[in-house]
């Protein structure tokens, strides 16, 4: 059943209004930050208020206007969209608090601009989550790209400017492909609405055209950082850490992955995908990215860079799960969206806390850091364990489902890929934990313990996300995530 409601509109307006107040109160930092927090909390509450309706099996719709025949510009929220929206809006609260500690701790410049565009980035991300069709998604996707540019280039150093330029060059180019994909989909199918089981009319187009369209769609989602179009992501780590945390582990990259899942499950549909043999193509890309990105992560000494490569690899887990084209795989993929977000944001926030507290960016300099920053490093260890798929952290659950998915697809090769990739995760995460806790500290700074834990504004969010990462493993149904995923997968129909 379809429920018309303005709650999506309200949710999306929160960051917009928040951004206006942030700009108006730019001269009074405390009031400015209050507005950010207020907008974040309000948005999160509104998003949560939609959960019961969605769990009841309904779809919430809000239409602004009809842009083209059969293409509305509007929102249509189903279980999968809501999962992404919950993740983005809940983590926004934590990251806002973290940003306050980080930006003040480093005495960063242009903070008003930073908070202003942060609001708009969330606007874009939640818009992508709510979008009811490809056109709407495209609009928010582009807004997301443009609004994150000032965040990426925030430092305004030549390095940051280069990162910003590379970021925009990659993502707006991919935006062109996305637009082409939207228009071609519309041309072939007569609509771009996300439909459970795929758009029926699309199957009438020729095989060649559908394959080409799929390739164009994939190119349109370079935000998913699949190889070989990943190199913008490590470069974009020049951004302040909270930006990397929320945008490059959650909002931006997840928007890309989210888009691909939408295309695979809701535009093409699982049946059509397996008819065309496109699952294999996507699985190969994902498998390649998973392995190669992990190998590249091992070679990085800069902590944020290593995390970036880890993100690239983990994002492909989601693509991998979807490419399996069976319920277990898709379930694993959908679970990995929020779970990876919580774990990765913990890791990034820890990396940022280390920068603020000690100024260290390289792993080799972190010897013995766990002794002076126990809370931060413990949270980091939890995140790292989760990434490697070790219980009791939530990464285990999604990997479990992904593994079941590979078995259901009768593909031992893919299972092997998954296992090797998990092993590689351990290879590049454990040395960090080992270095931090067990290596003997060098240099005099530890002696007189000049390094302390970072401020409470930073410590609380990263502890919370670490705790949530564990809670999600023990009680996967926290926030009804599991119910929502089951609901989303049940709706897919077809071979599922």
């Amino acid at each position: 059943m379809i429920v018309e409601s303005i709650s999506p509109l309200l949710a999306i307006l929160c960051p917009v209004i928040g951004s206006i107040f942030v700009a108006l109160f730019g001269k009074w930092p405390n009031i400015r930050e209050c507005w950010t927090m207020l907008a974040a909390i309000l948005q999160c509450l509104i998003v949560f208020s939609m959960v019961p309706t969605i769990l009841g099996g309904d779809i919430i719709k809000y239409t602004f206007f009809t842009a083209f025949p059969n293409v509305d510009f509007g929102f249509s929220i189903d279980a999968f969209g809501l999962i992404f929206a919950i993740t983005a809006s809940f983590l926004w609260i934590l990251v806002s608090s973290y940003s306050i500690g980080y930006m003040r701790g480093l005495n960063e410049h242009a903070q008003t601009r930073y908070y202003f565009f942060f609001c708009w980035a969330i606007f874009g991300a939640v818009g992508v989550a709510f979008a009811g069709n490809l056109l709407t998604m495209f609009v928010f996707y582009e807004i997301l790209t443009v609004s994150t540019y000032p965040l990426v280039a925030h430092d305004q150093t030549p390095e940051a400017l280069f990162a910003g330029r590379k970021y925009v060059a990659y993502l707006l180019t991919s935006g062109c492909f996305f637009l082409a994909a939207v228009i071609l989909t519309y041309h072939f199918a007569g609509t771009t609405d996300f439909t459970n089981g795929g758009i029926p009319n699309l199957a009438e187009a020729s095989r060649g055209a559908l394959m080409a369209l799929f390739a164009i769609s994939l190119l349109g989602f370079m935000k998913a950082a699949w190889m070989p179009f990943h190199s913008w992501l490590p470069t974009a780590m020049a951004a302040p850490t909270p930006v990397s945390a929320l945008l490059h582990a959650v909002a931006v990259v997840k928007a890309g992955v989210f888009g691909i899942v939408r295309v695979v499950c809701y535009i093409y549909g699982i049946d059509l995908m397996s008819d065309l043999g496109l699952g294999v193509v996507l699985a190969s890309i994902a498998a390649f990215t998973m392995i190669v990105a992990s190998l590249m992560a091992i070679a990085q000494d800069n902590l944020k860079k290593r995390l970036a490569y880890s993100t690239i690899s983990q994002l492909s887990y989601i693509l991998f799960g979807v490419a399996l084209l069976n319920p277990m795989g898709v379930e694993g993929a959908m679970l990995h969206v929020p779970f990876h977000a919580f774990m990765k944001i913990t890791l990034f926030m820890c990396a940022g806390a280390i920068i603020v507290a000690s100024g260290k960016t390289n792993i080799s300099e972190m010897k013995g850091l766990g002794r002076v920053m126990p809370v931060t490093m413990a949270a980091f260890a939890i995140g790292a364990l989760g990434m490697s798929g070790i219980p009791p952290v939530c990464g285990f659950i999604s990997k479990w489902y992904l593994a079941l998915g590979t078995l259901e697809a009768h593909s031992l090769i893919l299972l092997a890929v998954l296992m090797i990739s998990s092993l590689l995760d351990i290879v590049y995460f454990f040395p960090i934990i080992y270095t931090a806790f067990f290596d003997t500290p060098e240099g005099e700074e530890f002696g007189n313990s000049r390094i302390k834990e970072a401020s409470i504004f930073m410590l609380v969010p990263l502890t919370l996300t670490a705790i949530f990462s564990i809670i999600f493993c023990l009680f996967p149904n926290t926030f009804h995530i599991m119910d929502l995923v089951k609901l989303a997968v049940a709706g897919l129909g077809g071979g599922v």
């Binding site: 083209f68 228009i183 041309h187």
Partner: protein, 518 residues
């Protein structure tokens, strides 16, 4: 006869009279010239809105000069197409004239009177081209606005003289071709009235003279609208003219030539002629496609901001002509026919008008001509830079701006036309990327590059003093920038029901294009 039906001629007459009044009154008091010009254009703009309303609700306006019935007398005809172009033209003129007050006082203090007299003549000429239903009369007005434009471009003196001369030579050449076409048609039909011509011509479509006349019209008008490869006059003229004139040149003058071309194609000749006798539109598409790419590539190579915008105009004219070229082969209710082309005429006027006025603001404030001069300017001129950014991201085509809507419509038209024309989808997307390259460079320079004396990680964020342009310049700039987004949303929203989109739909109906194609 309703008063509205007299408005077309009043529009021309008061404008022309105002030009002379400015000249005469200017002897006594220079300051009056702006106010006379502003008041006249404001009145004209209001008139054009009434005309539009009348055309949409009642129907086409025919005005017979001196009561002489056509084809003996001169006739002014206003249908949906000219009413639409007229409103855009006068709106942009109004914005430019508002902007010009302070900037002309600053830039050309000795030439205020002649500037406004010429500006008024320019507007007269442009209005004349749009309202007339007589092809020779159209030529006369083309000459009026061209001459005014030559003089206005030269008004800065020095290097601008050369730019103006280039334009003069090429513009005169274009006008000659246009006149030759008229002469050819007159020699075979003995009439100059467009409607009369369209009745007399069909039996003569096989005639070489008639076909040659069409080619002359096309070549002549292509020079006037600076379509690649006959765009060579445009970059100099745009970059050295006073900025409000650059905005007019790029935003509406070259588009009025496009209007003239559309008029000649569909009102003098007909769809049948274009499809069967001189199938030139496919060729136009190709030329326009080349122009889109080459214009953008050349724009990337520029370091002077206005010159970069000028090359971008060459590329944007390609968009419009591509859409015109596709118009005969598309049949959809929404993006069929001339809709995308006419849409982009408005959109381009908004975007390019804004960009040129901002470029003018930089020159006004600190003689900043080059892109590299703009370093860190966003702190000093926040509103102007924000306006530039809005217009620039419209040019790139970020939704929901006007540029995005144009792009989507033209791409849909390409797909609708089908066949080999699908390659233009790639051309348009490539052009988007090229636009991105040259506009992003400017945005980055304004916002992200640190200004001088601001080195290092500025903890001591010494507040740069805001030093904005005067309000009378800022308001026009901001109006255009906001319209870039608002109009984009309006285009997107009004699209669904065909009835609610009547102006452009009416044009297609008039010419039998799009869904109304036989």
């Amino acid at each position: 006869m309703l008063i509205v039906e007299h408005l077309p001629v009043l529009l021309i007459v008061i404008s022309m009279l105002a030009a002379f009044t400015i000249l005469i009154v200017g002897w006594w008091n220079k300051k009056t010239s702006f106010f006379i010009s502003f008041a006249t254009i404001l009145v004209q703009f209001v008139m054009s809105i009434f005309i539009l309303r009348h055309v949409m609700t009642v129907g086409t306006i025919y005005y017979w000069f001196g009561g002489w019935a056509p084809p003996w007398g001169i006739e002014y005809v206003i249908d949906a197409l000219n009413a639409y172009v007229l409103v855009i033209l006068l709106a942009l003129s109004l914005i430019c004239v508002t902007y010009s007050k302070r900037s002309i006082e600053h830039e050309l203090p000795d030439k205020i009177v002649s500037f406004y007299a010429l500006f008024q003549l320019l507007v007269t000429g442009l209005c004349g081209v749009t309202v007339t239903g007589d092809i020779f009369n159209m030529y006369v007005f083309v000459e009026i606005f061209s001459l005014a434009a030559y003089a206005l471009i030269a008004s800065r003196g020095k290097i601008a003289l050369k730019a103006s001369f280039t334009y003069l030579v090429l513009g005169a050449l274009g006008a000659c071709f246009f006149l030759l076409g008229i002469g050819f048609l007159y020699s075979v039909t003995g009439t100059l009235n467009m409607h009369d011509l369209s009745i007399l011509l069909p039996p003569l479509y096989g005639n070489r003279v008639v076909q040659a006349a069409f080619v002359f019209f096309t070549v002549g008008l292509c020079v006037k609208m600076a379509l690649f490869p006959v765009h060579t006059w445009l970059p100099d003229a745009h970059s050295f003219a006073p900025s409000e004139i650059s905005a007019m040149l790029s935003g509406i003058i070259i588009e009025v030539s496009t209007y003239a071309f559309i008029r000649v194609c569909f009102s003098v000749y007909s769809l049948e002629f274009i499809i069967e006798y001189v199938p030139i539109f496919d060729f136009l598409c190709l030329v326009a496609g080349l122009g889109i790419i080459i214009g953008s590539v050349l724009a990337i190579a520029q370091y002077n901001l206005k010159r970069m915008l000028a090359y971008s105009s060459v590329s944007q004219m390609g968009y419009i002509m591509l859409a015109v070229g596709l118009s005969v082969s598309t049949h959809h209710a929404l993006w069929g026919g001339l809709t995308p082309a006419l849409m982009h005429i408005l959109n381009h006027a908004l975007m390019k008008g804004c960009l040129f006025l901002v470029a003018g603001a930089f020159i006004y404030k600190a003689e900043l001509w080059n892109i590299s001069d703009l370093q860190g300017l966003a702190k000093k001129m926040p509103y102007t830079c924000a306006a530039f950014t809005l217009a620039a991201i419209s040019m790139i085509g970020v939704p929901p701006s006007v540029g995005f809507v144009s792009k989507v419509y033209i791409i849909l038209a390409c797909l609708d036309a089908g066949g080999w024309k699908i390659i233009f989808v790639a051309v348009l997307l490539l052009s988007t990327l090229l636009n991105l390259v040259y506009f992003w460079r400017v945005i980055e320079m304004m916002y992200m590059k640190r200004g001088e004396g601001e080195e290092g990680h500025s903890h001591s964020s010494s507040p740069v003093k805001v030093d904005e342009i005067p309000l009378s310049m800022l308001i026009p700039v901001l109006t255009l920038a906001i319209l870039c987004i608002v109009v984009g949303i309006i285009w997107l929203m009004e699209i669904p029901i065909i009835g609610s989109f009547p102006i452009l739909d009416r044009v297609n109906e008039l010419f039998g294009l799009g869904v109304y194609a036989p």
